[in-house]
Amino acid sequence: MELSGGEIVIQSLKDEGVEYVFGYPGGCVLHIYDAIFQQQDVKHVLVRHEQGATHAADGYARSSGKPGVVLVTSGPGATNAVTGIATAYMDSIPLVVITGQVPRAVIGTDAFQEVDTVGITRPCVKHNFLVKDVADIAETMKKAFFLATSGRPGPVVVDIPKDITDPNVKVPYRYPEEVNMRSYKPTVSGNIGQTRKAVAFIKEAKRPVIYSGGGVVLGEASEELRRLSRTLNFPVTQTLMGLGAFPGTDSQFVGMLGMHGTYEANMAMHGSDLIIAIGARFDDRVTGKITEFCPNAKIIHIDVDPASISKTITVDVPIVGQVKPILLDMLAQIESLGETFDRERISAWWSQIDEWRAMDCMAYDKKTSTIKPQYVIEQLYKVTNGDAFVTSDVGQHQMFAAQFYPFDKPRRWINSGGLGTMGFGLPAAMGVKFANPDADVACVTGEGSIQMCLQELSTMLQYDTPVKIINLNNGYLGMVRQWQEFTYKGRYSHSYMDALPDFKKLAEAYGHVGMQITKKTDVEPALREAFAMKDRTVFMDFLTDSKENVYPMIEAGKAHNNMVMAPSSKFKADTAQSSLSSASVKRMPDGHKKAAL
């Protein structure tokens, strides 16, 4: 079969089994778009901004486990996509991003819409290619998909000069069955000696914690994690990226850890004698102060990326490889121990954890008549039976969603954990809906974040991807305001947003349903009404308490046992809890200053 370069790009996608391409046309990709027009298998979704394309493809990938595909033009098309590429890179999400490039003859001449895409994206991709020959397109596409989806996944950019997609130049086409790259051989199974060493530590541990991350979701090892945790009877904490891999409603789950993790999770980490880190990378938002991280613990670290091991925290037993086969190895070894493995050995540890749990660290004021953001998330959980796909933007609402919507399944919680990209939530929700057309999809956002990729409301109407937008509108860039309250004595520098649009009318202008919810008693009925409209996107603007903070909080650079607790929790200000080892607990006063407008 002889095809043009443009046709090869699309035929490669077809051969890869790609269903959707999220993109935006422009001069340098016109030949490719013409090839799209002449076939039906690969469906194209016309976004309203290239950032939206990358986030949508990302949401598609996170929720389905399949790679997301993006097609944008050269120059501004590529630069607009960079934020989304970096977002995917930080969270190890498989994307293949095809960017148009100016014709080979004018590369380097500052041609119209020319930018060094390979140069600009180099630090935020797993790999990138500039294809220089039409005969190389098919193999490069195969490599791109192979790289994006294997090992530690990530985005791959394929930059294609316009002239090699010329419809008049046809070359023989064959899509390779597989590619062999001498320089890229990701490790699959772990070293069995290391696993044995890990099991030896596990047998002896008295205060163990399983610390599980996004790698368990990406590595499809949720089932193995559950089996291992139940076999061991160890407490499980998860990172922001890992939520759902272990059921959030399970009694062995002690909550998320880190900056806005639970008291019990952070105290357990701090008091632990054995940490089993699984597909987690010891991010600074998780570890807090490095020198005081888990001071008495041995650390086992399972990760597919050797560079993640001992990067910030030195570990005792590194195991490099895919999480799933390693957990299976570990399980087999533990099961072979039979009766000699004493599950009751750690009962004192569980009693301690239960004591920490009883402090109810995420308590908030439930009596108030104002709408608390936590309350909205709790009602969302109730109305969706805890089974929705929830995307989020970045800020307080993201933490509230992570804390108050316990996910029981992996790939249900879709958020930008590593890069922290505001504007992610809405296009990501659209991508989730493409991958899961029958599921309930909610985008938890705030009035700040939602305005960063709002234009995708238009795409959502065009392609009929009904999503429920839960806008926790407190009039502030809430997380910035919270930091300013805690560390800048309430000098609210530019965290107040004046002149917000009427979101209800705005949603209606885009052809969707808009709601504004101002009363607490309306929260649940409004959610029920919105989710009953299966085929409509509903923008729900909740006017929430403008002063609510996310608790607990470990301030940047502090240790796990140094948390700021909610005013409504059972902690007394600056009072050492005798039974709670040496935790230092600070309680925030109720009063808040108003912003000077």
Binding site: V118, G119, R122, L130, S183, P306, A307, S310, T314
Partner: protein
């Protein structure tokens, strides 16, 4: 404790491969003391030698991050075993007898010679270990007009080798 390491890398000989290596060093704030690269006898491969300074942990991370680059085929840390290192320098000085005598007076195993001579100028070619070059250059009295150094290259001695 920080120590100097010489890392030898076999790299796909493709455009942009070098910038992936140098970009990695700047993005992650690692030091590069010198970096030298040229194709090998297998034209699809380049061999890159870089000298870096860091603690054991940092060097370990550097090696892991380098290995993670798709274009890096293989690498070794020459500082882990007994290795041979060399650097080449060319320097231009004003014509002077003292310099000619200095070169002539060097031990026969020292790799230094006058490579080019005009009425007014001398170009001297030196090769040896980096420290020997440093010493030689600092011992020169009078003005050095230009110096160019290649950066360090090296090989492991004996059986240990960096091959595919």
């Amino acid at each position: 404790m920080s120590r100097q390491h010489i890392i030898s890398v076999l790299l796909e000989n493709e455009s942009g491969a070098l910038s992936r290596v140098s970009g990695l060093f700047s993005a992650r704030a690692y030091n590069i003391e010198s970096l030298t690269v040229a194709p090998t006898q297998d034209p699809t491969l380049s061999r890159l030698t870089l000298v870096t300074v860091g603690s054991e942990e940092t060097i370990e991370q550097i090696k892991k991050q380098l290995n993670k680059l798709i274009d890096v085929v293989k690498l070794i840390d020459l500082s882990e075993s007994f290795s041979l290192e060399r650097e080449l320098a060319l320097l231009k000085v004003k014509q002077n007898d003292a310099m000619v005598q200095k070169i002539d007076g060097l031990a026969t195993d020292a790799l230094a010679r006058i490579t080019d001579e005009t009425d007014d100028y001398l170009i001297i070619e030196l090769s040896g270990e980096k420290l020997w070059l440093d010493d030689f250059l600092s011992s020169i009295e009078g003005e050095i007009i230009e110096v160019v150094r290649t950066g360090v290259i090296g090989l492991s001695r004996g059986e240990r080798s960096l091959t595919l």
